[in-house]
Symmetry: C2
Subunit: 324 residues, 2 copies
Amino acid sequence: MRIVVLAGGIGGARFLRGLKAAAPDADITVIGNTGDDIHLFGLKVCPDLDTVMYTLGGGINEEQGWGRTDETFQVKSELAAYGVGPEWFGLGDRDFATHIVRTQMLGAGYPLSAVTEALCDRWQPGVRLIPMSDDRIETHVAVETDGERKAVHFQEYWVKLRASVDALAVVPVGAEQAKPAPGVLEAIAEADVVIFPPSNPVVSIGTILAVPGIREAIAEAGVPVVGLSPIVGDAPVRGMADKVLAAVGVEASAAAVAEHYGSGLLDGWLVDTVDAAAVERIESAGIRCRAVPLLMTDPEEGTAAAAMAREALALAEEVREVRG
Amino acid sequence: MRIVVLAGGIGGARFLRGLKAAAPDADITVIGNTGDDIHLFGLKVCPDLDTVMYTLGGGINEEQGWGRTDETFQVKSELAAYGVGPEWFGLGDRDFATHIVRTQMLGAGYPLSAVTEALCDRWQPGVRLIPMSDDRIETHVAVETDGERKAVHFQEYWVKLRASVDALAVVPVGAEQAKPAPGVLEAIAEADVVIFPPSNPVVSIGTILAVPGIREAIAEAGVPVVGLSPIVGDAPVRGMADKVLAAVGVEASAAAVAEHYGSGLLDGWLVDTVDAAAVERIESAGIRCRAVPLLMTDPEEGTAAAAMAREALALAEEVREVRG
């Protein structure tokens, strides 16, 4: 079975670990969000790609969900001693090595997809990880502070401001001119199922879908497209997704997110059991829906994530059977 | 008193610490060798400049004479895990921060001299440290291995090969087209004395003198130019200087190095007491010479280095008086 997963960071990565456990023989291609990439200290940092790579490769800091395990912060503290920031972005020494290798390879002319493949040679994540695009795309968030409207990098909004102010707009700068990375459209065309994990529908999966050609390829693939709600009980499972949902005029509910994707893209949708009442509304929008436990409460064990993955695959199978 | 010192790495840096102690009120400008600069992992590394900066700024690893104190090696070990080398060059985590800041500033368009000044803002070395040139110069060494002649970067010759094969030639690639960095010629023109510390006469001071205009400015400055022999008892004080001396046809002796600089450039020369017999030969070459203790045996205390600096300044004074 060939599975394509569109993934952001922590939620996507933990779901993927469950998916590998649920479908050990599947051929899994992950299309990773690069809209949260940022240049820091002259280095190219790809937080979402790295979170997937480290999580599946056994190098992740399990407690925080991102960054490396057994991490130290000598480089960062020295940079601060030079007065060089930003200090709000937590890059550890082990993590720095990844960004140094990536930046060196990009400087030598390799595209990000080739660099990601090279980095994965070490981590052996057990999936094929492809950035959504080799072109530079940076998600910017429009905010108003002190009566002045300005755009900040998504990382500044998310990590520095911790989404403490309203997001007025979310713009994947560069997406319109970008092309899907080599292998992205091919993987979608050859997929048996496409899964949207419980990643952020705006700044993770939404950004991937903003790369021209990807949304169309998924819609036209003719295979089940199923997703898992990142909203449980009308609140995002992780963090501050409601802020960026508001920016695109979508309420923070499992049903609203499903409707945001729409039946033209999405065939099936899993909501948490606490949102069982939303199933009817979602199905009336033409999207097959099931209510199942959606909390990845044991990230290290991955059994909850594996159960979620099995439910997603079962829902995909239902969709396939109904279509005949 | 305005003193200009041409400096390489460890020997120059330790001498400078002594000079600061010996002449606390002097205005000291250090023209640093950049011929041993190297790009590693996409980062610009300036070993000699950093050794001077760390030594005078209190950040040096005193035992090895280069690199940072309390150093760790997480980044390097992670780079090795990615299969990215070279492993023979010992970059620590703290040191990496310096190279990251430098590379970022160079990428932003600042010349190396401005970057060096910015780095020194933190270290407060107590001297003005200027790279010999803002232009890229890389010392390459011609060697013959397995019957094949090839050129290797100086760092590869020095650090990886540990000068274990003969140096057939030493070429400061790029020097001919280079210009002295802003402030270099001005500092020489305004100097009261120019000192060659016991740095390598070929790959440190020789490289600085290879930048068009610097040798001429020193010769024409009309002030005492005094040096300290890096060779004591017919062997280099540190490392493998005899190998690169042989490449330029100079025997490894205190007298031969003085003659290599020549009386057209050098007015005074200090040799170690064990080389007292060479004084006559050196003076007959038109270079005033004294035999004094030249071993910096107590790098942390710096008293030996300070005594050497006092001898150098005294010799400069003698030269000045003789000239009238």
